[in-house]
Symmetry: C2
Subunit: 470 residues, 2 copies
């Protein structure tokens, strides 16, 4: 333990400190409450899974990104790549779970990506899924809870792009594209909103598609990609797609499901103008089978902040029999970026958790300072006590630098007078408070309800227990 080791984080992985750590926790808390409002239950699974659990679910490219290794028992294992495959495993492994099983899961996942802006090797996923329902209502609930999450986080503007894997399969058939070329076609089409038709047509050419195909695709979009500022306009888009694919049963099935989805999300509270049918939105993962969606923001230019869809075959890989499922995943890190860029952080996040800093004058008064800290904490006030033995002015300066709102000063004079001097660090104003009532007074000034008057907060499912320290 004598040589020095360089203190460093692995590339693509991050430490969460100070304000960003508090922001992360705030976002997790808000999403958790949103998920529970919709009746989703928490789930947690191990970070490490058998390699065979992880591999072959996401597509070949993705499989290469799985952090795999051998454990001490020689088992091939890996770090989870997402939270959907662990859910599929859980649903198959515990047949006693209620059906439909609605769960949320907020946890890190790992991908051996090339690190770049906004792309990390360890990142947080926030997932909501419903397993055991093939109803479009389940897909609608997912869209609704995702929208409610962004509303709760205060996102001023976002668009839910809706599509269907069945519709896309119909589109491929209509263009007479099959097998591996389908993937190639959709990889390119997926870039439409980034590179435009010029780019798409050029890339289709490079990928060996005939010019005719690109022209047909573009013409199809021109016929069907109508403005959609109202639910009725989205329904009109579906009707025009119905006409195009009248002889394609799979596409018609996908269109009908999207119609049911539109019928349900309105009453569920998804606001008109926040969603649209978008045939060019593909989503990469292999396992989707029905409706798919992506949530995008225009400002900042960061792309997708949530996505998901229906995957009716994934659970069957584990259970041997099909269990329909649908879900959505929040792009946690991009959400943090958006919140920071648009200044959506709640007030109070910028300072410190500490609300009152109690000074320590010297050895004789230490006990009195500690007892004051104890009483403040019992009153619900987040309290720190000086630990450095610094001189009083330095203690005050340190509290000020860290934006602690109040400092409680307790010297021999105050102790003799049974008082506490409280400095409001923003105004510099100092008040003398009787020692006995100072904790309750400060709690009130900080807007903390008195312990006996605390109602069960909305969203807390438990009786509050308020023993407090000491």
């Amino acid at each position: 333990m004598s040589t020095t080791v360089q203190a460093r984080t692995l590339q693509g992985m991050r430490d969460w400190l100070g304000q960003r750590a508090r922001l992360k926790q705030w976002v997790i808390g808000e999403l958790r409450e949103t998920f529970e409002l919709f009746g989703f239950e928490p789930l947690d699974t191990p970070a490490v899974e058998y390699a065979e659990t992880l591999k072959g679910k996401y597509g070949e490219e993705a499989d290469k990104l799985i952090y795999g290794f051998e454990d001490r028992g020689g088992r091939a294992v890996g770090l989870r790549y997402d939270l959907t495959v662990p859910l599929a495993r859980v649903v198959a492994q515990y047949p006693e779970l209620p059906r439909p099983f609605k769960r949320y899961h907020i946890a890190p996942v790992w991908r051996a990506e090339r690190p770049q802006r906004g792309r990390y090797r360890e990142f947080t996923q926030c997932d909501v899924d419903i397993a055991g329902s093939d109803s479009s209502l389940a897909d609608a609930e997912i869209i609704a809870v995702v929208g409610a999450g962004f509303d709760r986080l205060g996102f001023p503007d976002y668009t839910v792009r809706l599509n269907s894997r069945k519709l896309l399969a119909g589109l491929a058939g209509w263009l007479d594209v099959s097998g591996e070329r389908t993937l190639s076609l959709f990889r390119t089409l997926d870039k439409l909103d980034k590179i435009g038709w010029e780019g798409v047509l050029a890339e289709l050419g490079e990928r060996g598609f005939e010019a005719r195909l690109g022209d047909e695709l573009r013409a199809l979009f021109e016929r069907t990609d109508l403005p959609q500022s109202s639910p009725d306009e989205s329904r009109r888009v579906l009707r025009s797609l119905e006409e195009q694919f009248a002889d394609r049963p799979l596409a018609l099935e996908g269109i009908a499901e999207l119609g049911q989805l539109l019928d349900a999300i309105g009453p569920l509270g998804v606001r008109a103008g926040t969603y649209r049918i978008d045939l060019s939105m593909i989503r990469g993962l292999d396992y989707y089978t029905g409706p798919i969606f992506e949530v995008a923001v225009e400002k900042p230019k960061i792309g997708s902040v949530a996505s998901g869809g229906r995957y009716d075959n994934l659970i069957g890989i584990f259970s041997g029999r099909a269990v329909p499922a649908t879900g959505g995943s929040f792009g946690f890190d991009r959400i943090i970026d958006v919140i920071e860029e648009l200044g959506l952080e709640p007030r109070g996040l910028g300072g410190t958790v500490t609300q009152v800093f109690v000074t320590v004058f010297g050895p004789e008064t230490t006990g009195a300072s500690l007892a004051l800290a104890r009483d403040l904490r019992a009153a619900g006030v987040r309290t720190e006590v000086a630990l450095t033995g610094d001189r009083l002015p330095n203690q005050l300066r340190s509290a000020g630098r860290r934006n602690v709102p109040f400092v409680a000063i307790l010297g021999p004079d105050e102790i003799a007078a049974n008082e506490v001097v409280v400095r409001d660090m923003a105004s510099g104003e100092q008040t003398r408070l009787p020692r006995a009532t100072a904790p309750a007074t400060l709690a009130t000034r900080l807007g903390i309800p008195s312990p006996s008057a605390v109602p069960s907060p909305a969203g807390s499912r438990f009786e509050a227990r308020r023993a407090g320290p000491g």
Copy 2:
């Protein structure tokens, strides 16, 4: 994606489902609030660290338990073994952090242990640490916040056993034991409370210590291990140790620090009778340098539920210069076991997150059911809507089985009458409510404050934002 994969969890790792998942979240929430009351800030670090960051910090035995592997770039990496070494790295890596730096960290860690009851390969740690203070007040704050955590969780009985690495080093010197034999001696002494003096003396013999040494050790304990039901009695134990080790400066330093610790934890609210000086409490990890502690419960017989101590040299391994630090770690899984065995769970944990289940009568009434769900959620009621297309009696039965407190029934008659039928699932009683006010009425019956009247809950540092879904 066609062959079936066995759905299974790796041995020693666990899924958290249903009630246990809710219990886990509740414990994490309570501890987090306790930590913040004491002014600790959240921190999060990556699960994967450079192998050189992890190795050589915990002792040779522990190093073997680190999950190590090579990443795609050929770097030797590993899953973190605890949360203390990542903290030490962070303190060294970010010199701009405030000093003292008080942080908490709640996250999984991984150890390639042989799985057995209560010992897992992935488990949650809840740590509180203070870096940058060499004051005994910092050690006292750790003991106080740990005690406050157990009080908050409702633990009826626990004992904080206190010792000091300096005192133990003095003891080894006094017995004329040095080098590798010290470790061997302490490994055996550590078992005193499990195997008694008979066992300890026998094992010391097996380990090659002379009988004289065992006798001296036992005699020392008989002279100093006095009853400690009050702080004064603990101070008397320290005085008797002072006499024994009068010519051992390091031991005296340790004893003096323990005396300061005793002086501070009382005013900080640690209750008399919950702690004692215990020379036979050793703690395994290499990195401790000063006071150490362990929290044990008698019922159930599960041993240590928290532990920690001062480690003044660990951060220096990364930063090149010593940064004193002290901290504590909650044995999360054992805490869960104690809560379950003693029935300390809060009320309401046994059911489901859902408070109201909204039935769906048929296609014509679906929109009305979805809109009711939307309005209930906007009123803060955790609401599920039927997704299965089951017949009404089956919907009711399913909600009943899962202990959902209320079911809202909305058929064509209710819709025509602008009403909702609400069934209290515990009593079976049904009430008709006007549709318009039903959400607010149900919210009130469930004890949910109306959105406009919600005060900032104690412990929440942010302005409540209550946009609600829709």
